[in-house]
Amino acid sequence: MRNPKLFVVGDSFMVPPLNEEIKPWWIQQAADELSRLSGKTVEVDTKAVMGSAQDFSCFLLHQLYSGRITPDDYLIIGLTHPNRQWYFETQPDVSNHHLTDLDEFVTKDQAKAIMGFIQYIQRPLLDTLHLQNRMAYVAYQTRRQKLRRPLVIKCFDQTVAQAGQFKELNWANGNLMDHIQVHEFWDPLLDENQVYWKGIDPRYNHMCLSNHNILGPRAGQALHNDTTLDLVDGYMKGIIQADSINDRAWIEREINPFVVDANAKQKRFEKGMTSWAVRMGISKDFSIKPKTITKGVK
């Protein structure tokens, strides 16, 4: 009989650190808290992929519910924004039209297909309908297989329609971007990628480690006690000051120094970053702040 597992699906808010990064990320801390509370060693099993769409997570969940997850296991679902689309089967990390360098990873015809999809086919109504069906699948399998309620954490603000009422799902209160990520800045209104980082976000999962230390144990407790995880209150705010990026000790303590160094070497971001969708003039208001993300760095 194996140890209980903490399965994780989601996007960049959920991905594990790279091998050389040894800081205790929040998912590991959640597993550690579960181990402490349950008296059993809980192992992390994450399939999260940076930049992925809900459909990719759902694909992983379909596999998970095909006999891999047991009633002893735990599950965290990081729910990325539903407007992300898993365009190409072999590129689950290309789903966000706000990638700055999306066109470097697809052919011209594929880029045209994405443009056409965004301009003429994609719409919030359909995105939300698909989201609701995905969550219904999770809720249904949870009930059918008598599993623990999964902890569902919204990465961004989004409409979840009836899925918010599915009692088989343990929804966190708030969302990671609006309630933790942006409030870490001394000025939450600035566009951190363009103005502050001049490159990709060097934080682990877009959060400083001080907040990992708060979020991880809380997530573990919510899973163990089957209670609501609060993302709104109790987190560190304003901890990224205007000059923090020049403070090496602070960098080592709070964020990923490898990414900071990589950003510094990337001349192309000196003049700021513009998302592919904005460059193409096809950015849509999906009621979230457009977020520029670069896939190519690292």
Binding site: G116, Q119, Y120, R123, L129, A136, Q141
Partner: protein, 292 residues
């Protein structure tokens, strides 16, 4: 939206289930099923048929969401879903009936830019694996709601042969055996392949829901039994085969007893427009996909 009081029969689907306006009293399977259920219960069973010709699964699930949100379907009601092919995509919100790339004149209903977007979508983005996963998710939503609201098991009828994955095992759904296209529609021809090549009707199918009325009657009886007894509906046998005569174009009696006579006459009048252009839009554009 308000719904009538009393027991109801809800029907969702595509052209296999849609009721053409003005033909509400025709002896189609949906009308006959409601009548048979009414007889069985000794009280009127109201028919609420929201099926739409050409629609995609997403359109139906949008309606289901509305019905469940409003608690429109009660534990005494019945639901029949005629499940269209998952490769159909509700491309444009204003045109829920335009989802099938095999439509002959798809490009007449959309702008050039929209047609290009649809073409590139089906060439580069759409794929069967994703279609099937979305289908399974839809079935899970329905199964969850049936379980949650303690409803009668909905009768799920595949319109076409399609992969439904492990949704087949969802015990809250009552899956019919077989599919309407392969097991009834095509069997009505003396040569099953004639219609596939689209040389037969030269335009719109003159039948109600792609089936002759003799088969509507049989289908309705089978559906009513399956709904009342919560048993499996078998559409692979028991239907009239090779019923469409070769002289159907001049056989008035056949047209009046088995077909949608008004549509048949209209088609015969309009056949010239389809004389030289019977290829589906997808084929004319040279689009090849793995989807139907």
């Amino acid at each position: 939206m308000t719904y009538p009081a009393g027991r109801k029969l809800f029907i969702l689907g595509d052209s296999f289930a849609a009721c053409r306006p003005g033909t509400e009293s025709a002896p189609t399977w949906h009308r006959l099923t409601a009548d048979l259920l009414s007889q069985h219960h000794g009280e009127p069973v109201q028919l609420i048929n929201s099926s739409l010709i050409g629609s995609a699964q997403d359109f139906c699930w949008g309606l289901l969401q509305e019905w469940f949100f409003n608690n429109a379907i009660g534990p005494d009601d019945y639901l029949v879903v005629a499940l269209t092919h998952p490769s159909r995509y509700w491309f444009l919100e204003r045109l829920p009936e335009l989802t099938n790339v095999n439509i002959i004149d798809l490009d007449r209903h959309v702008t050039k830019e929209e047609a290009t977007a649809i073409e590139l979508f089906i060439k580069h983005i759409q794929r069967p694996n994703l279609d099937t996963m979305l289908l399974i998710n839809r079935m899970a939503y329905l199964a969850l709601m049936v379980n949650e609201q303690k409803l009668n098991r909905p009768l799920m009828i595949n319109c076409f042969n399609q992969m439904i994955g492990h949704a087949e095992e969802f015990e809250e759904l009552n899956w019919a055996k077989g599919n309407l296209f392969e097991d009834i529609q095509r069997g009505e021809f003396s040569d099953k392949d004639r219609e596939v090549a689209d040389v037969f009707w030269r335009g719109l199918d003159g039948r109600f829901n792609h089936m002759c009325l003799s088969n509507h009657k049989i289908l309705a009886e089978k559906i009513a039994t399956a709904l009342i007894t919560d048993s499996v509906l078998d559409i692979t046998s028991g239907f009239v085969e090779k019923i469409i005569p070769d002289d159907w174009e001049t056989n008035i009696e056949f047209q009046q007893t088995e077909l949608d006579y008004e549509i048949t006459l209209r088609n015969l009048d309009n056949r010239k427009q389809y004389k030289n252009s019977l290829l589906p839009w997808k084929n004319r554009r040279g689009i090849t996909t793995n989807n139907k």
